[in-house]
Symmetry: C2
Subunit: 434 residues, 2 copies
C-alpha cells in the first residue's frame, strides 16, 4: 500500500513579536514567522513542515516552496525513501533553481520546509515521534539518507556507518534515562537586547528559581552595556551556573576579540555568532583568541545561520567551533542535518541546537535526542536552547520540567500548527494583520 | 536640483536558452533570465539594473526586489550618495529581511539589482559611462561607498584610500591605451558541456581565426570525455594560447585534485569552480595541489557564485585563488564589488570578471576597466569573459574587436534593456512564453 502526496499547501503565518522586544538582538528585530507547508495525501495523513523567518520576506520563502513543490506533488512516500538522496537533490540541485543559492538562503530554506514535511509524514505513518523513527532506522538507511557530495573530505559513508553502528550500543539505557530525566536545556528568555536591566534581573531570578542552570544573553550593544547586563546575570546565577553570550554576527573579527577580552570577567561558557556567519577563518581566529583568554573555559558557538553542510564542514575542519548549533530548517531539512550531526561526531564537537523563533524548539528536540541516542552518545556539553514563546500554536508543543525538555511522544516531527493559529495569524488576511 | 526615485518597476524577463544547450555545464541547464528593475524619476531619466538567474525562480528574485523597493522609492539620488553605506545597509541589513540571507542568495541578488540601478541612474545623470564615473570619483568618495563591516581584518579604509590614490598615477595613459586597443578578453562560447566534439572543434577554430587567444571549456563530465574535449581545443589553439577549464562546482575536493592530475597534460591556465562555491578550505587545498602539479602554471579561479565580500575575503586570506572572478549582480551591486576589487588589489590577485548569461558582459566591462584604471593598474593576467549571447537585447551592447572589449562610451552602466525585448520575453505573458 503506497501513500501519495496529492497536494502541497503553503501558508504565510506571522506573529507580531517585534513590538514587544522579544527576540531583539544586535542584528534582528522581527515578527517571528513560518513559511508553513502541509502535504496532503491519499491516506488522510498530512505531513507538516516549515521554515522560520523574521517577518518581512516570509512571502519569498513561501513562493520558493511553491517553486519547488512540483518535485513533491505526485510522489509516493515509498518512492521518496527508496532513494532519499535522489529526492533531496531533486530539490537542492534543480538545474535552474540551484543558481539562486546554491544551497543557501531563500531557496534552501524552502527545501528544508518541504523535506521536513516529508519526514513528518513518514514518522506519522510509522506512528513514531521523529527522534524514535530516526534512532531506530538501520544504519544503512541513515547513511543512504545523507548526500555526501562536497563533504567526503571530512566524512565518508563508511565512517558515518561506523559511528551509527557504535551508537546502537547502550541506546536503550540512554533512552530510559531521557524518559526519566528529560534532555538538558538552557534558556534565552532572560537577556534580549531590547529588555531593560531590571527586567533582565527579574527574568534571570525567575528562571533560576524554575531550575534553569544555563542562561544566554544577547551582546553586541555598546560594550559597557553588555558588561553591565552580564554582571547582573552572573550576580543572580552565582559562579556555577553557565552564562552564554550571543553577538548575532555584529562584530568584526578583531572587535570580537577585544570585546571578549573585557567580557571574560564574567566567565562566559560560549560566545555565539561573534562575527559574520560566513566567516570560517574569522571564527577560527576568534576561537584561538578566546581559548587563550579563558584558558579554554570559553568556546565559540555558531550555526543558526550556517547555510549548509559545506559551511559546517569547514567550521569543524578549521577548529573554529567548540559547540555546533544545528538548525532544523535553515539548511535542507532532516537529510542535511544528519550530515551535520555525523560530522560533529567525527570531529568530537557537541551539538547544542539553535532554537526559539516559532516552532524551532518543537523541531530540534527530536534532533538533539537522536544525536544523543544514536550518534553523540553523551550528554556532556549537550543542551537544547529553550525560549518560552509561541508554543501554544502547535498541536504537540514542547514540554519542559525544571530546565529540561521532556521526550515527545506523539507521532511525527511536532511540526503541525493548530488550524486556529494559522487562520488567526495568516498574513496579510488573518484577523491579527487586517 | 534633486532627482527623486518616484517608482520601482520590476520585470521578469526570460530567454529560452536551455533547449539549445547554450550555457549547459556540469550543474546548470538554464533559460538565461533577468530580474530587471527600472527606477523611474522625476527628472525623466530611468535607472536600470538587474540580477541574472537561470530561469525557474526568476519570479523569486523579482519578488525580493519588490520586498526591498520601499527602501528606494521616494529617495533622492543626492541623499543616497551623501551616505552610500547607510543606503546600502538599508537594503542588505534590513532587520527582518537580513534573516533570509544574510547577504546571500535571493535577497542579496535583489539588493544587487537595485543598487546597480541606482548607480546606472547616477552615471546617466552625470553623462558618463560607469567605468568613467567610478575612475574619476575622488578617493574619499570611493572609500565612503564601501561597507567595511566584517572585512576590516583584511582591508581598512586607510589601506583602500592608499590603493586608490596610487591608482591616480598614470590613469590617463592607461585610459588612452584602452581607447586604442580595448580590454583583453577570453571566450567561453567554444566548449559548453552540451556541445558535441565536432561543434567544439569548429567553434574553437572559428574563435582562433577571429583573434581569440584564450578560451574556456566546461569540464565535470566523465573524466575521459573532459580530457578528449580538452585535447581537441589544445590541438586547435596550439601551445601558446590559454586554455581555461570550468567545473561549475561538481567535484568533491579530492576528486578535483585527481581529475586535475589527468587534465594537467593539456596545460590549463586555470581551473574554475573546482568544488562547492562555499568551500574556502577546499579551494585552498586544491590550489596547493594544482600549483604543485603544474609548477605554478595553473591556478584556481572562482567567484561567480561567491555570495558576498566575506567569502571573497577568505578566499584571498586562505590563498585559495590565483584569479578572482567578481560578478556584478550576485553580490550587493557596485558598492560591494568595490570592496572586492580593493581586497584583490591588497592581496595581489588579478580580477577576471565572470560574464556571459544575459547582460553580464555589459555590466562587468565597466568594472574591469575601473579596476585596471584606478586599482589594479596592470593588464597582466587580466581579462574579461566573453560569451556571444543575447547582446542584441541591450540598448548599449558590448562591442568587441579581435578578442578585446572596446570601451563603452554611452552614459550609464550599459544595463538598459530594449523595451521590445522586455515585451517579447517577459514571463509568463510575453509572446515567446505564451
Amino acid at each position: 500500500m503506497t501513500v501519495t502526496v496529492t497536494a502541497v499547501e503553503v501558508h504565510d503565518v506571522r506573529f507580531p513579536t517585534a513590538a514587544a522586544g522579544d527576540g531583539s538582538d544586535a542584528i534582528n528585530r522581527g515578527d517571528y514567522s513560518a513559511s508553513y507547508v502541509e502535504l496532503r495525501t491519499d491516506a488522510g495523513v498530512t505531513g507538516a513542515g516549515f521554515t522560520f523567518t523574521n517577518g518581512r520576506g516570509n512571502e519569498l520563502t513561501c513562493a520558493a516552496i511553491q517553486a519547488l513543490a512540483h518535485h513533491v506533488t505526485g510522489r509516493t512516500v515509498e518512492e521518496i525513501f527508496a532513494d532519499p538522496v535522489a529526492f533531496w537533490r531533486s530539490l537542492s540541485a534543480d538545474v535552474q533553481l540551484r543558481w539562486l543559492g546554491p544551497e543557501k538562503g531563500v531557496i534552501h530554506m524552502a527545501t528544508g520546509a518541504l523535506v521536513n514535511a516529508v519526514w513528518d509524514l513518514r514518522a506519522k505513518l510509522a506512528g513514531k515521534p521523529m527522534w524514535q523513527l530516526l534512532a531506530e532506522l538501520p544504519t544503512e538507511e541513515l547513511v543512504a539518507s545523507v548526500d555526501f557530495h562536497h563533504i567526503t573530505d571530512a566524512i565518508t559513508p563508511d565512517e558515518a556507518a561506523a559511528i551509527l553502528d557504535k551508537g546502537l550500543i547502550g541506546l536503550d539505557e540512554r533512552r530510559a534515562g531521557l524518559e526519566r530525566d528529560g534532555f538538558p536545556s538552557y534558556t534565552t528568555s532572560v537577556g534580549w537586547l531590547g529588555y531593560p536591566d531590571d527586567k533582565v534581573r527579574a527574568l534571570t531570578r525567575q528562571a533560576y528559581t524554575e531550575g534553569w542552570r544555563a542562561m544566554k544573553m544577547k551582546v553586541g550593544g555598546p560594550p559597557a552595556d553588555d558588561l553591565r547586563r552580564a554582571r547582573i546575570i552572573r550576580e543572580e546565577i552565582g559562579p556555577d551556573a553557565l552564562l552564554m553570550m550571543d553577538a548575532n554576527q555584529v562584530w568584526d573579527v578583531d572587535e570580537a576579540i577585544t570585546n571578549m577580552t573585557a567580557l571574560a570577567e564574567v566567565d562566559p561558557y560560549w560566545i555565539e555568532e561573534p562575527t559574520h556567519a560566513d566567516d570560517i577563518l574569522g571564527h577560527a581566529r576568534i576561537a584561538r583568541a578566546v581559548t587563550k583568554l579563558t584558558d579554554g573555559r570559553c568556546r565559540v558557538a555558531t550555526g543558526e545561520v550556517a547555510a549548509n553542510r559545506v559551511i559546517f564542514k569547514q567550521l569543524l575542519q578549521a577548529e573554529a567551533i567548540g559547540v555546533m548549533q544545528i538548525d532544523a530548517c535553515r539548511v535542507g531539512g532532516v537529510n542535511e542535518v544528519l550530515a551535520e550531526i555525523l560530522m560533529a561526531a567525527k570531529f568530537g564537537v557537541p551539538i547544542c541546537p539553535h532554537s526559539g523563533g516559532v516552532g524551532l524548539c518543537e523541531y530540534v528536540q527530536h534532533l538533539a535526542v537522536f544525536d544523543y541516542l544514536r550518534v553523540g552518545t553523551s550528554l556532556d556539553g549537550r543542551m537544547v536552547e529553550y525560549v518560552d514563546h509561541l508554543h501554544e500554536h502547535f498541536v504537540d508543543p514542547v514540554r519542559t520540567r525544571e530546565g529540561r525538555y521532556l521526550l515527545p511522544t506523539a507521532p511525527g516531527y511536532s511540526s503541525t500548527m493548530r488550524p486556529e493559529s494559522i487562520a488567526e495569524f495568516r498574513f496579510p488576511d488573518g484577523p491579527v494583520w487586517r
